[in-house]
Every structure is written in C-alpha cells, then in structure tokens.
Symmetry: C2
Subunit: 215 residues, 2 copies
C-alpha cells in the first residue's frame, strides 16, 4: 500500500476499523461466524471454499461467501457451483478488500439463513493485512509452490492471522519446498498460530479445518 | 493500492514517472539495459535471474540486480550467489517498488561495469503495475501453479508488460492448469505480447528469454 501520509493513513485505518466493528456486530446479530481467507494468487483460497462447503453442510452448517478480486468473476463462478449464495466484489485497482466493500456485500445476503461467511480477499500477501473486515478469525493460505521463504517474506501476514493453511504439500518435493522451514518461520512470528497442512485439490486436511472453524 | 484521492494519486504517479524517466536516462548514459521482473510470490522471478545470469555471461554480458521485497533478504541472498552485484530494497509495508527506491539502489551500483540490470519487484500481481521504474521493458512472470485464471484476474499487468513468461509448465498437468487458456487470455489483453513458456528450475526457455532481452 502507498504510505503517502502517516496522518491520512491513520485516518483510513481508523475509519476502516470502525466499519469492521460494525460488520462484526452485524454478523453477531445474525448469529453468523465469519472467516477471512487471505493469501497469494493460486494459494488455494477458492479451493478451500469449494472443499469445505460440503464438509460444513454435512455438519448442518450453511455457508455463504464474498469473492474479492481486482477484476472478473473467476472465483465467484467457482464458488456458486458449490450451491451457496455468494457475492462478487471487484476492487478495480485496489489490492485488498476493505470493510466498506464487505458491508456492501452483506447488504445483498440473507444472513438469517446462513451460519458461516467466508470472505475471500484479493490474492496477495501484502495489502490485505492492514484492513480488518469484521471477521472472527483470519486464515492465511500459502502453498508450497510459492517457495519455502514465503513466510519469512511476509511477517505481518502471519502476525495478523490466527490459522495458517500450508497447501499443496503433495507438490513440496517437486518444487523443492522445505515445509518444515515454513512451519519454523510461522512459529517464530506467531507461536500461537494453528498450522494445518493440506492438499485441497484432494480434500486432504479439510476436516481439520472444519474442526478448527467450528471450535 | 489505496485510491483515496484521485488528485493526489495523479500527483504521486506524476512524481514517480518523472523519477522513472530520470532512471531511464541514467541507464542510457551508462549504456545499461534495464528490465523489470513482475509477478506473484513464487512465480519464478528470482529463479529467472539465477538461470539467465550465466546465460548472459556466456554471451559476454555482465548483469546486476535490485531485489525488492517487503521484508528480509531471501531473494537477495539467492541472487548474490550467482556472483553478480545486487542491492536489497525492502519496502517495509509497501506492496511495490517505486522509481525513488530504484534510484537509491542505483546510487550503490557501479553501472560503468554493468550491461544489464534486473529490477525484481515485490511479489504480487496488482500494485507494481502503476509504478514505472525506468526499465526498457517489463516482464511478467506467472506460473501454472497460480491457476489458469491468473491472467484474466489481472488485465492491467498484461496490458502494461511487453514479455510474459509462463513458468512451471512441467507442473501444469499436476495442478490442472490449462496453459492454452492463459495464452489466449494474454493475447486478448495484449496481442503484441511476447510469450515464452519455461521450466526455470531446469533452465528450459532461458535461452529464448536471453534472445528476447538482447534483441
């Protein structure tokens, strides 16, 4: 993000945080649990939604989603194929969602008939960190194909989230990724973080994620 | 990036563009050719540098590099192992390099003994597009593991660059990526773009990239 003016930046964050609190109250009033999905392009955020929606359904939970992208509706189209209600939020040129965009999306959703809302952010590891959206927990999805230095390059992201998903563990060897290094880096930045290893393409690790969300 | 104020934004871009032109003149005065490397985390920007530096050396060309990251020096450490001079540029919280940071890096480089400078931007597909740095060409590196919708999600990036590298083509099948879709999307947004398919881990496609850079 562009740090052109510290004072103005503080105002932007302050305004966003107030809207995020408002979103959080809105979720609470409707007895909805909301989860952010953060991570790079291709890390597996949409795949996570595709796989966890049926798992949550089998546990009696109805999901919904907000798909955030700069442009287009590729993720949105994948998500609605799961049969859940979803809202496509294009940011235009912005590299992240903000609480106002999420609030706008919520206006289009019948939260009375929803248990869980996933908020899939724009795919990148930098910008979304500073913008809280009102979710109960933030989940960062990284994949072995991003390189095992991805955690060390983005400490803020790991300090700011509560759950880390290490996806595409089946490809770790093929891409020369040391998963253990990723785990050690995560623990160094956030010792309390829950770490779940997955192969979301095959649905491996999805039950563990569902357990964590419903805990 | 945060579009808080159109007027201010125009001023930021204007100031950056003037500095980028200054960088371009600086490169020209030293008979140096500069190339931007843009793309997501793990797409293969650093791998490209690692593989092309020896190829260019075999053609009598001396390379140097600026490694842009939010935090840390993982890329920088990989780059200097190739034996070239490099400068590590941390942006702090910014999601992109700007022309001022590049100018600062150039002050630390003896350009009289360098033929080619690679400017590796922070790894994300959104923010770097608007900030020209003074390079002669912009190269975007995408990988099959990012999903075959990565181009469609980022039209700006493909309109703004001249060369597209599609990396990790060896993993396309394993991750269910339709490379042909990527190519068609690129051609739709930028019919003139040069597209090179690579497996940078094995050095496949590197000679073709070197040919393109030295053309």
């Amino acid at each position: 993000m562009h740090h052109v003016d510290v004072h103005m930046e503080a105002e932007i964050y302050g305004a966003n945080n107030r809207l995020a609190e408002h979103n959080a109250e809105h979720f609470k009033a409707h007895n909805v649990r909301a989860f952010d999905l953060l991570g790079a392009i291709g890390s597996g955020k949409t795949s996570l939604i595709e796989k966890i929606v049926p798992e949550l359904k089998s546990r009696g939970k109805v999901s919904a989603a907000i798909a955030g992208d700069v442009y287009g509706d590729d993720d949105f189209q994948r998500i609605i194929k799961t049969g859940i209600i979803a809202f496509n939020a294009n940011t235009g040129k912005e590299c992240h969602l903000d609480a106002h965009l999420v609030h706008h999306a919520l206006d289009h959703m019948d939260l009375d008939n929803v248990d869980i809302v996933f908020i899939e952010n724009v795919g990148n590891m930098v910008c979304p960190t500073d913008f809280k959206l009102g979710a109960e927990k933030r989940i960062v999805v990284i994949s072995t194909t991003e390189g095992d230095d991805v955690v060390n390059k983005h400490p803020m992201m790991f300090r700011d989230c509560q759950i880390a998903i290490i996806n595409k563990v089946d490809l770790a060897e093929a891409v020369g990724c040391n998963v253990e290094r990723m785990i050690q880096d995560i623990k160094r930045y956030n010792p309390e973080m829950l770490i779940i290893k997955t192969n979301l393409k095959k649905g491996e690790g999805v039950k563990e994620i569902a357990d964590a969300l419903l805990a």
